[in-house]
Symmetry: D2
Subunit: 297 residues, 4 copies
Amino acid sequence: FSTSTLQHLFKQIFKASLDLQKTETKKILLVSREKRSEDTVIDVKGEKIGDGNTHFVMGPCSVESYEQVREVALEMKNQGLQLLRGGAFKPRTSPYDFQGLGVEGLKILRQVADELDMAVVSEITSPENIEVALDYVDIIQIGARNMQNFDLLKTAGSVDRPVWLKRGLSATIEELIYAAEYIHSRGNSQIILCERGIRTYEKATRNTLDISSVPILKKETHLPVAVDVTHSTGRRDLLLPAAKAAIAIGADVVMAEVHPDPATALSDSAQQMDIAQFRDFMKGLQPLLNMNQKATV
Amino acid sequence: FSTSTLQHLFKQIFKASLDLQKTETKKILLVSREKRSEDTVIDVKGEKIGDGNTHFVMGPCSVESYEQVREVALEMKNQGLQLLRGGAFKPRTSPYDFQGLGVEGLKILRQVADELDMAVVSEITSPENIEVALDYVDIIQIGARNMQNFDLLKTAGSVDRPVWLKRGLSATIEELIYAAEYIHSRGNSQIILCERGIRTYEKATRNTLDISSVPILKKETHLPVAVDVTHSTGRRDLLLPAAKAAIAIGADVVMAEVHPDPATALSDSAQQMDIAQFRDFMKGLQPLLNMNQKATV
Amino acid sequence: FSTSTLQHLFKQIFKASLDLQKTETKKILLVSREKRSEDTVIDVKGEKIGDGNTHFVMGPCSVESYEQVREVALEMKNQGLQLLRGGAFKPRTSPYDFQGLGVEGLKILRQVADELDMAVVSEITSPENIEVALDYVDIIQIGARNMQNFDLLKTAGSVDRPVWLKRGLSATIEELIYAAEYIHSRGNSQIILCERGIRTYEKATRNTLDISSVPILKKETHLPVAVDVTHSTGRRDLLLPAAKAAIAIGADVVMAEVHPDPATALSDSAQQMDIAQFRDFMKGLQPLLNMNQKATV
Amino acid sequence: FSTSTLQHLFKQIFKASLDLQKTETKKILLVSREKRSEDTVIDVKGEKIGDGNTHFVMGPCSVESYEQVREVALEMKNQGLQLLRGGAFKPRTSPYDFQGLGVEGLKILRQVADELDMAVVSEITSPENIEVALDYVDIIQIGARNMQNFDLLKTAGSVDRPVWLKRGLSATIEELIYAAEYIHSRGNSQIILCERGIRTYEKATRNTLDISSVPILKKETHLPVAVDVTHSTGRRDLLLPAAKAAIAIGADVVMAEVHPDPATALSDSAQQMDIAQFRDFMKGLQPLLNMNQKATV
C-alpha cells in the first residue's frame, strides 16, 4: 500500500465510523416488518383485512343518490361483499366539476350500509372533516392527491378508525411508507396501503399500475395492501385482468368502481362497471379466489 | 359518395352539433389570457411582480433562528432585493425530520422583514393557518405537495393576499392552471405560478426543470410566472445556469435558497447557497438583467 | 341557430368529411386483431407459443461457457422446459463492460440445445448478424434498445424465423405495435411481443413492470405476449410474484434469467436465480399453471 | 465502542479497502473533463464548434427536393449560417410513413452545400451506411432512437468525421456520456452531444426539454453541447423561447428545423418554421448573441 492509499483508507475508516453512528440512531419505522413481523389484520365489521383472503371494496365513484348507492350495495350483498365505497368529498381538477355531496353523501352511504349491514369507505379531504367522518364512515380514505397532506395524515393518525391510504400520483413506494408512518406515529396502526397506478409517459392507460409495489409493500411493511384497479387502468376492459394480476401477486384487497348506469355518472363515467359487468367481474375472479382459498386452508 | 359514407357523414354532423354546444358552454377560465389579455401585475410593498422586470425571492429553506434569517436578509438588502422567503411549516417526507418552527418561524420572518423593510413569502400547509398567516406573511406560498389540496386553495382564494402557487411534483401544466383557477374563482386574483421541476426518470438532478412551462404558462394565463431553481435542480452548481435560462425564457421571478451556513442547515443542506455564492449568483446574472432592462426601456 | 353557429357547423361538416376520407384510407395493421381475429400460434420445436398455455424462456443473462449453459439447460429439462435463452451479443451501457462472446456464444447455445433437444433464443443486435443467426438460433431476439432500430426490424422481417421483440425502455404500447408491423410488413408474421418494464421515476425496481400492457397487446394484436420478469423488476425477490401476475393476467410466455452461480455472473448478477431458486420459482407457479390448464381443458 | 461496534467497524474497513481498489482501477472516461480539461473544439469548414460562440444547425426535417433544400439554405446564408441539416434516412414509427430519400437525399444536401459553401449534417441509421455517408456529410448525426445502437456507435467511432450524438428518448445523462465513450474509444474524438428533450408524463410539449443537462454535460465532459429546440418542444411557438434558454445556459449549438412550406412537409409539419418565422427567430436571439459575444471578447 502506498501512502496515498493509506491516507484514503483512514479517511474511509473515519467515514465508516460516522455512518455506523448514523445507522445506529436510524429510526426503525413503526409500519416496517423489521418492527413487527406478523401481518396487521384490520377487523371491519367482522371482515378481517390482511388475513390472507382477498377482500373487495366496491361502489360508485361519487355518491349521487340513495337509490344509486342502494342498487350497487344490494348487488354487493348478493355477491357476499360488504365493504361499500362512495365519494362524498370529491377532489376534482377543475373547480367547475361536480365536487360531491359532502356530508349529505356520507349520510346516504351510512344509511344504505346500516340497512344492509355493510361497512362504509369514503374519502375525507381535510383535517376538520375527520371528526365528522367518525359518525359515518368505517374506513377513512386518504386520496392520492392528499398522500402528503401531512396535517390530514396527522389528524387521521389521532383517531381510532382504519385508514385507507392511497399512493400519490407520482409518489415513490418509500414516500408511501413514510406517509403511513405519519399516521402510525400518532397512534393509529390500522392502515391499508393502496396502489392506484402511477403517472408515466404511457397514455394507453390512465395511470400505470405498478403491480410490483404490492410484494414490495408486503415485504417492507406489516400492513394490508390493496390495488385500486379502476384508477390505475382507467379502462373498464382492463378491470378484470388487472384484478387477476392483483390477486395473483398477493394483494389483500381489490377496489373497483361500480355504478348502476355509468353513462350518466357525474364523474369517471368511462371506467365504472355497471351491475352486469360487476357480476362478470366477480365470476371471472372465482377460479383465482378458489385457488387462494385452497392454499390458505 | 356511397350510402354508408352518407350515413357516417350524418352521424358526424350530429356529433359536430353536440360538440359545438359543448364548446359554447365551456367555461373560459378566469386565469386565462382569453379572459384577460393584459399581464396581471402584483404589487408587494412596491415591488411590481409581472411588470416585465426580473424579481427575486431568496432566503433560507427553513427558518432556524432570528440571526440566521437576518444574515441572509441583510445581504439581500445589499443586493437591492426585498422579497424574503423562509420555511416555517415544513412538509417533510418523514415524520421524524425537522418539521419547522411553525408560527414562531413566521414571527421571526416578520420581525426581520419589518426591521429591513422587506416582504415575507412563506408556505402555509393547512386551511386553518391561512388566517394566522395574514398577520405575518405578504405572499402565501402553497407548496408542490399541496397544489391539489383543494380546501387549502379555496381558503387561500378567499383572502386578500397574493398567493405563490407551486406546481405539483408530477402535475401537468393544465392541472397547475386549474389549481390557480380554484383560487381565482373564490375571488383572489393575485396569483404567482411557480415552476419547480417535475419528477422524471432522470436522477442527475433532484427534479427535471421543465423550462418550457414558463412560456406556455405566460401564453395560457395572464399571471406572473416564477422559477424555483433550487428545488428543480437540487444542485448548488446548477443554480446560476438554471437562473440564466429562466430569465432568458421570460420568467418574472427567480426563487433560490440562501443559508449563512448550508452545511449545518436543518433541511436541504446540499442545495442552498452561502452568502458568498449568493453574491456570485447575482453578479453572474447581471449581464442578462441589464439586457432585459434595456429591452423594457 | 345563429349565423355563426351555422358557419361553425358547416366547417365541422367539411372537417368531418375530411376525417372520413382519412379513416377510409387508414392502413389496418397486419399485426392487428382487426386484420386477423384468431391468435397467432408459433411452433418452436413442437412448443406452440400462443396456444393458451403458459410457456417459459429461461437461461443465463450472458453465455459464459458451455458448462454454465448446460447446467441451466439440464435443470430446465428436468422441469419440462425447452426454450433456452442466453446472451451472446450483449448491448452494454459502457464500452468497457463485457460485450458477450458473440458467435462463439451462439455456438455454445446451439450445441447444448442440440444435445438436449431444446430451442435457442438469443439477441441479435445488427442486421448483418441476422444471416449468421439463422444457423444457430430458433428465435431471434430484438432487444429493448433496438426496438426502433428499423434496419434491424426490416432484416428480421425478411427471414423465416420467429422474432422475440422486446418493448423499448420508454416505448409506448403503440410504438411496440408499429415496431412489430415493420417486421410483419416484410413478410415475417412470427412475432412474440415482450413487456420488459418501462422507465419511470420509481427506483425501487429496475424498471416498472407495465402489467396492463399484456391485456392491451392481446386485445390490439393477434400476437403472443411475453413478460420478462427479470429485467422489469431487476430484483430476484420479485421474480416469483411478478411471474404470478403475468400468468394471471394472460401472458403467453414468462421469461426469467437463471445462472448456476449468479454472484460470479459477468452481467446482471443481482437479478438472476440460481438453480435452487429456479426450482422454487417453478414450484411456486404450479397452482396457477394447474388452474389455467383446467380452464383450457 | 462495544464489541459489535468494533466488528462492524472492521467489516467497514475491509469494505472500504475493496472500494478503494475498485476506484483505482475504475476507468476514467476519454470524454470526461477529468481526462481532458480544455473544451474540445470541432472545426467544420471553418466554423469552430465549442469555441464559446453560439452556432446554428438549421434545415428541413426531411430532404424532399433540391429546390426545397436550396430555399432554406439560401436564407441561412443570408443569416450568416452555414451548418445545413436535412433528413435523408428517416427513422419513422410506422413502416407506412415516408422513410426519406436515402442516398438521393444526401446527394441533394451535398449539392446545395457545395454550391453555397456550406456544411452538411445528416442522420445515418445503420453501420453499413457510414462509409457512404463519408462522401456526402460533414457531420454524421446519430439519432435519439439509435443512441444505444452500439454497432452504429462503434462504426462512427472508426471514421474521421465529426459525430452529432442525440440523447435517447429516455436516456439518462450518464448513458449519453457512455454512448459518446463508445465513439471516442474507437478513436473518433469529434463528438457533439445533443439534448433533444426526454419523454415524461407532460404532454403540453412533445418531449420535456431537460435544459439542466446542458451545464451538466459541459461539466462532466469536454465536448460541445447542442440543444435541438424543435424535437424537444415540438411546438413552433416555443422554438424562440427555448433557444433563448439554451443560449443563456451555455449551449454551444442550437438546432432547429426550417421548411419553405411547413404545411406541406412530409414529416413534422407542425413544428417547423417557415422562412419568415426563421428570420424572426434569428432576430429574436440577437440581443443574447450580442451579450455573449461581448462576454467572449
